[in-house]
Point group: C2
Amino acid sequence: MTKQILLNAFDMNTPSHQSNGLWRHPRDQRHRYTSMAYWQDLARTLERGLFDGIFLADVTGIYDVYGNSPDTALSNATQVPTNDPFAIVPVMAAVTEHLGFGVTGSIPYLHPYSFARLVTSLDHLTNGRIGWNVVTGYLNSAAKGVGQVQQTAHDARYDIADEFMEVVYKLWEGSWEDGAVVLDKAAGIYTDPARVHRVSHDGTYYALDAVHLCEPSPQRSPVIYQAGTSPKGQAFAAAHAECVFVANHNRGVVAEYVRSLRAQAVACGRAADDVKVLALLSVVTGESDAAARAKFEDYQSYGLRQGALALISGWTGVDMAKLDPDATIAEMDSDGIRSIASSLCARTVGEWADYLVVGGAAPTLVGSPVTVVDQIEQWVDDTGVDGFNLAYTVMPECMEEFVDLVVPEMQRRGIYKTRYAPGTMREKIFGQGPRLRAPHPAARWRLPTGDADQASAG
Amino acid sequence: MTKQILLNAFDMNTPSHQSNGLWRHPRDQRHRYTSMAYWQDLARTLERGLFDGIFLADVTGIYDVYGNSPDTALSNATQVPTNDPFAIVPVMAAVTEHLGFGVTGSIPYLHPYSFARLVTSLDHLTNGRIGWNVVTGYLNSAAKGVGQVQQTAHDARYDIADEFMEVVYKLWEGSWEDGAVVLDKAAGIYTDPARVHRVSHDGTYYALDAVHLCEPSPQRSPVIYQAGTSPKGQAFAAAHAECVFVANHNRGVVAEYVRSLRAQAVACGRAADDVKVLALLSVVTGESDAAARAKFEDYQSYGLRQGALALISGWTGVDMAKLDPDATIAEMDSDGIRSIASSLCARTVGEWADYLVVGGAAPTLVGSPVTVVDQIEQWVDDTGVDGFNLAYTVMPECMEEFVDLVVPEMQRRGIYKTRYAPGTMREKIFGQGPRLRAPHPAARWRLPTGDADQASAG
């Protein structure tokens, strides 16, 4: 392989994201997630390692399917407590210059008018380093949190999401022309009203008749992340997503997904590499293979399998407390579990849960830097992914070790950058920007008089 | 007077808040409001001056009543463009240790479940420095932004607000007991599920059945700010508010308001000084009275009266473009305008607009530090207010000069602190806390087993 690997840290504003129980490790510092110092130290480490970004997952709800109760999630810290992902973005941006932020925002719990303003505000403050991970919501507990009886059906959620995207694109791209802010102190004209336009939208799910409240930020629309794998989800990703996130142990499944997604993007008129695919990955490394293996086994000994089962129950909607975790999945009468688990190469639910103890629902590479990077290259060659979302194990040491040991080995082989590219997050990842271009659907709402090459004022 | 004056900076994430046109001043830096450096420099200046906090106003909408168009607001930069106030709080918190944040959140555009999480997240990150200015919303343009035909009627908005407060208090105070996070690495128990409780609410406007997503933050409920002066607004403030904000030129009116509000708070079972009243104020100072006067006249020459009229039109709902600004208000046939303008000591709408050129809809004190502090003392003696919300004129010089010239004079007279008190924002302002105590309505939802003196983990 010769292409440069993209790298995101995969994280969440919570003590325990996907490595269930590793908060118990004596060296783990993750309980400090409520403090500013924790996130600033982490951001500095990631920027030292030239990470493209930090991807912040979010779940607006609690995992209460397992045992029909939130108790296991609470005692195991299975993604609860969990704080707002957007609150830590300015904190980390304040001590970095290049690191990007892919932040999860779940459409059912957002209003497009105020959400568009929040994203524009952050894109200004970070000089164009904001990405948005578009999620359509999936926990019934979250639906109850906003007063619904249960979640909207899966396909309808994508219809709502399509309309939401149209509204926010109109606000980001079609309300303020480039150059609308003239800042003419002598004439007393801050903004030229002729270059600001009301956005009118009267749809099935959203109605709006308003001027976007913000002047254009460096990227206008944020870098769009998405992670849908269902047919509707893939179609949505092919149309909208710039970075797509996959989580699977099975290289064949991932390779087929990459091929299918790029083909669909091309069918939408986009270039195949207008969509970057990042695979979930976890790494446990050390000076030697033996040292890394010993570390992995040490980590494993702190795992909490019940927390992993609570996570799987929330994802699948099936209460794993009622199943024998060692029964083979092939024998289970749930199509959902069968299709997910088999693609993960898990023979039993228990095996699946074991994955969620060190590194999440994806491969965990264990070995010296040479061994790890051999496998990284093999993964890219076998699947065609553009890079990785690196899930954490014991924090912050796993990220520090990755930066100190694995990054230099990737650089030595010429598969990883040795300095950041200039510009916004979009320019760094795609080598072009800072704005989305046709035929991306956001560009449809760009004003004909707008000039993408002219920087906005302010 | 002997009591210590409380001091907030009055600001908004926008180029021009209340001093219409002063962004035109050659030394004004306000167009840098989109940048992180601007807010961090300002925060450092305010903390150097021992300000208790920065109060961030917000308007979710655009001032389009004047001339039935947003054009004047846009060209004059009348509170537009305007970015999200919450986005800059972590930015300023990252470079300060004591400065508090009173942030406006408008109830019609928030959902209690996600808003409660945002506030708790920020209270964690800032070590308990978050206040929330409760606003019920007032621009029709904002209602259209969220797909409503027009604003909800005034009194109904307070009914909605009362119910919103109940829901967020339940989440902040009644979901997680103190000590619920045990962080027992050996036993593998992060949170004790027996000490986390589901919040159920089935009301007229909100329904909820959910666990708060966050562990308790230092203050739990943020310091509650409010600015209502209508009968419904005063009743709301007397019940809920810890800091109340008034804007009026007329000391008699302010004195009566302070007396009435404290009496209503006492009728609610609270102590008279459980509610701090902050009056809007602006200061133009210099080495001498003459120097300050010259600076004031220089500032005035940059004013944009039309922008001020757009602001007044938005506040009153009356299109000032249709009125003769020099007609006396007493002759106008709008009760709303008469009652507001007369209390401001404005004889005409034009006079009112002139106030909104240097310093906002409140007194602007002009003079040497001795002259200014004489008047500050007189204001406190005449009205009984606890302190001031300091509106800006030319930024950042007005705040730097206040800190360098006025603060030392107040300290010399013993009416202003010489160091910050320890603890959270609530403890700094009230000398007790960090949690709200009975009979404040938030305390009603505290769990009987909770122990306010026991710090929460994490």
